[in-house]
Symmetry: C2
């Protein structure tokens, strides 16, 4: 299946991945980290995955001022004018709308597909085939999403509720977006077979998305269109700097997708390609770790180690992210996550990994701001 | 009390302090570490403590080939010819006998006092006064030891059993050396008031010690005298290199002190000056740590920290030896020793600190030889 000639890929690169501290930091967020099983970062892996679909000229990354240089260096083949720098974070609706408006001016009626910078996908061929399937619905004027076929009753994700099929394609209408559910509801969702995980993957025609934005959030649409009109002109930076801070902060799901779904304008194709958002150390260990006798060791260096990185006596159930050249030696230690980075060491009981965010707050309170 | 004019101090600097790994290493043993509450190392603190007693010209350090350079650099005021380098470790009898024989040739009938390089003493004035008291017994021909007044029924030390007083001094005769006792025996020792800890502190006339050595271990005495006769001559290194490896390995307690005690030739003065051998991390924490809410933190850097070095959430009972510039963040972690060094991280349950030696053996087995 060939990808459509007018397809662009957009990658919003934001968020810090707090549950992966101290690996992921405000200054070195998750997407810059080599959490892929190779030396490539999640951002680079995202670029590598999209490149066969659209080519480097049609990949756009929307990122913050503090990460623009990192994006430029990690993706040397990405054209400079495809790095769109937000003066301040305004949530996903602003970032995606900006990209849509700029692409629409470059290529009216283009198809645009948007994917997070920090997700991991195991079967890239199936991923690309699924995106191309979704473009069928997008060409027909639907705001499309790729929903992930759920593999467990996860309470940490939102879901999309599917309704009737749109023949003759694999496209299904989306009846509703559903917030992160409690466990019993999540179980019902998975058993029904009618719910998919919302992984923030969108495919649409830029003209259609901008029309829907103008309809549901005319305030945002107006600001974004003014910014896009000035983009690349001598007044561009001035207009962006003045208007951007006034753009409302809202996620694209709330601003556009939910009302559009209620109006029967959202479609989905189910994705089954080994997706993960690499959201916490347990997931990192499961996907990228190698099991040794006392520990699951996640070596992100991409180089063969010279000696053991973990040695445990009367110890088990450890999850260790070691540093090159250092050894972690454990004596009678159990079920502990150990993350050893240059300037911070995390020790966390395995069943408390969801609370790392609270630990970061405490670090800030105690004056360890430089380490978070 | 003035110290005798003919007193020399000898410091055997050997042993690696395995229970303090990874702080203490084969290559960087305990005596080189700043385990003193200041930036000075234990060796430097030992030198500082002895200097007012005898002056730098009369302090001799006996050490191994791998630590000679470290001793020379840590003690720039120590005369070079007072650094006696053993070609290979032959235990304490050989080291002490070599120093005694060399001092005897430089200063016949000298008084010699020998102290470990890696012990901590809190009240140095009392320490020096006690040593001078002991020289009275040594001048009279006894092999003297300073025994430490026990503060607890410690099972990790040997004891000396005192008998009658030698009037009019504070000197008591030693009836017997006792091996590390089981707890019930240790309790009896402490309750009786007649036992002192053997801290390896000896004071004697060099001629007397060498005569006793010749009597109890003529084999060792003969080799040591040959080596000492050649010491400092053009043949010195050749003789040392040839004969030293043939010197029997034995502790001075077994070779000389025990048989001499049986012959009524050993005396002691009790020492009560805040002595510690800084033998494990619990002791290090008690003596050098500062208590923070979740952890006892031992900062050996000697510099004020810029931010917190330990931050714990739902954590307590931690003993942390942090590294400068790094933060240890703990989430739901309890009663754990955390020692963060440049190339190794130790995590050890507090009640297993005595088994670190086993962990080191495992590290060797697993090929982490470079880290031990």
């Amino acid at each position: 299946m060939r990808s459509p000639d007018d397809l662009y890929a957009v990658v919003p690169a934001g968020g810090s991945g707090t549950r992966l501290w101290p690996l992921s930091r405000a200054a070195h967020p998750k997407f810059f980290q080599p959490l892929t099983g190779t030396a490539r970062s999640l951002l680079q892996a995202t670029f590598d995955r999209l490149r066969p679909l659209v080519g480097p000229e049609r990949i756009c990354v929307v990122t913050g001022v503090d990460h623009a240089a990192g994006v430029a260096r990690q993706l040397p083949e990405l054209p400079e004018h495809n790095i769109m720098v937000e003066p301040a974070p305004r949530d996903s609706c602003a970032a995606i709308a900006l990209a849509a408006a700029i692409i629409e001016r470059r290529h009216p009626g283009a198809l645009m597909a948007s994917f997070a910078a920090d997700h991991l996908i195991q079967d890239e061929e199936v991923f690309r085939r699924t995106v191309v399937e979704a473009t069928a619905g997008a060409s027909d004027g639907l705001l499309m999403t790729v929903g992930i076929m759920p593999t467990r009753p996860e309470t940490g994700y939102g879901y999309v509720q599917c309704s009737e099929k749109v023949r003759p394609s694999t496209v299904q209408k989306v009846a509703k977006y559903r917030e992160k559910p409690p466990l019993d509801v999540a179980k019902q969702f998975v058993e029904s077979g009618k719910y998919l995980w919302n992984a923030g993957m969108f495919i649409w025609r830029t003209d259609v998305f901008l029309a829907r934005l103008a309809e549901y959030r005319p305030d945002i649409a107006k600001l974004i269109q003014e910014i896009a009109a000035a983009w690349g002109t001598p007044q561009g930076a001035e207009v962006l700097g003045t208007l951007w801070p006034t753009v409302p902060r809202i996620a694209v799901e709330y601003a556009v997708m939910e009302p559009a779904a209620a109006d029967g304008r959202v479609g989905t194709v189910p994705g089954d390609f080994g997706w993960s958002d690499i959201g916490d150390f347990e997931t990192v260990a499961t996907l990228l770790g190698s099991d040794e006798s006392e520990a699951t060791v996640v070596d992100l260096s991409g180089e063969p180690a010279e000696g053991p990185s973990v040695v445990g006596l009367d110890s088990d159930g450890l999850v260790v992210l070691p540093r090159r050249g250092r050894v972690v030696a454990a004596l009678d230690v159990h079920d502990l996550i150990v993350v050893d980075t240059e300037d911070a060491l995390l020790l966390c009981r395995r069943d408390r990994a969801q609370d790392i965010k609270k630990l970061i707050e405490l670090l800030r309170e105690r004056g360890a701001e430089a380490h978070v």
